[in-house]
Symmetry: C2
Subunit: 236 residues, 2 copies
DNA sequence: CGCTAATTTGAGTGACTTCAAGCACAGTGG
DNA sequence: CCACTGTGCTTGAAGTCACTCAAATTAGCG
């Protein structure tokens, strides 16, 4: 199967076990069926761009499987990663709701299957299902709270503290395998774009963490050895 | 009238000309009357705290008149100002919607009159008025978009650029008087807590901007002399 | 009361330190 | 072989500390 091919077997929402699926889990069966009927579904390979900053998008995406990074591009072309999204998360809904152009770019980190749901469906659901509205608001509010935390961290913490914190955050969102290895593989540059620093700084600090016995490095795989230690470094 | 006194003349929502009042402007007359009946109203002096990070709030506030700063407190006690709110803005609704503890503190910058509306009313409106829901979501999404911009700026721009940008941002939100003077007076420390830097750095940079002819300083009043110049410094 | 004296608060400066960015270059591995 | 990783070195931006000065508040006291 080539890249970007239309998915031949469209995953069914009702059987989609993507963890959480916070947003759709309280829909009535007939509402879910509506979503099923109107949605489309595609596969994307690492590096593929789902939507780009400044473009108009006429719907939002629900991640069936995979990992996506959401980032803004700074004035000098440097990426600032805002968040990662994975199985069960929705992306692009901010632009739909606010009817603005996308203010971020979404790009695939790990091969992904996405369902696309047109704007009209979202507004329909908001208008007819107050429970759905509230859940959507709570999602937005959660993101807003996280963004506020992030602002405070970047403004006040050192790069060292922030890197430790990001590692912990990644651990919480993507878990560790049985060997304590982070289940998301990022390049040093992606880590840097998340922390808001230079790639070299990340490299140096990672090997510092390694020699301090907090982590172990095997290429892009990061094994966490000393969780409390990292917590301390991060000032949590 | 002493400080913090209960307001004897509760301002009427229907006659409240607070600019925008984005959230309430599309309510039906009977809905507005419900809000009127259930709300309470208080006056606060500069320095008064409306609600504190970590506290539970059982309603949200609508600013009838005044200016409020919303900030988080970093691990070493340093404030990080997230945003300012003024006449017509609502604050505290994030915690209400997400049913979490307040993640920020709200403090009065300029003497303020606030209306307090209990949580239940907010949820009632969301459940019965889809138009209101959508507007509330759009407000949250707008804030989220601004937060994302802010993250990128703090992570990538220099203190100098950020200070210039903040001045422009304040100009857009609070306007200038007929003499081009910013209509919000902040201490150097508050500016620093907004930019995410040390007070001394703000002082130094402000006098740099002054000697470069961009601004004029008269205590806390800042007069803007060269708007395009500031835009250039801010990399806009 | 009313008028200094004392204290506090914010603005501003200078000297010093440090963190982290930038550049150049050398491995390395898919 | 090219993108990614890693290292050494240099430089600069910005934080910290220590202090002065002015204005504003509060206290003290005849």
């Amino acid at each position: 199967m080539g890249p970007y091919t239309k998915n031949t077997t469209i995953p069914s929402c009702s059987e989609c076990i993507a963890r959480g699926h916070q947003i759709f889990k309280n829909l009535a069966p007939e509402e879910l069926e509506q979503v099923e009927n109107i949605k489309s579904c595609n596969n994307y390979k690492r590096g593929a761009t789902i939507y780009q900053e400044g473009s108009r998008i006429n719907g939002f995406y629900c991640i069936h499987h995979g990992i996506i990074k959401i980032f803004k591009t700074g004035f000098d072309g440097k990426e600032q990663i805002i968040r990662f999204a994975q199985s069960g998360d929705i992306i692009g809904y901010r632009s739909v709701l606010s009817k603005e152009l996308a203010c971020t770019t979404a790009q695939v980190i790990e091969d992904t299957t996405l369902c696309f749901i047109p704007s009209a469906m979202l507004f329909d659901l908001v208008k007819t299902n107050p429970e759905f509205s509230i859940q959507l608001m709570q999602l937005t509010c959660k993101e807003l709270g996280e963004a506020n935390n992030y602002i405070t961290d970047i403004a006040q913490k050192t790069v060292r503290e922030r890197l430790a914190e990001i590692l912990l955050l990644l651990k919480d969102n993507f878990d560790l395998d049985e060997n304590q290895v982070l289940q998301i593989a990022l390049t040093r540059e992606e880590l840097a774009n998340m922390v808001g620093t230079a790639t070299e700084s990340v490299i140096r600090l990672l090997s510092e963490f390694k020699s301090d016995g907090y982590i172990e490095l095997h290429g892009r795989k990061i094994k966490i050895l000393n969780l409390p230690g990292l917590h301390k470094v991060a000032n949590f």
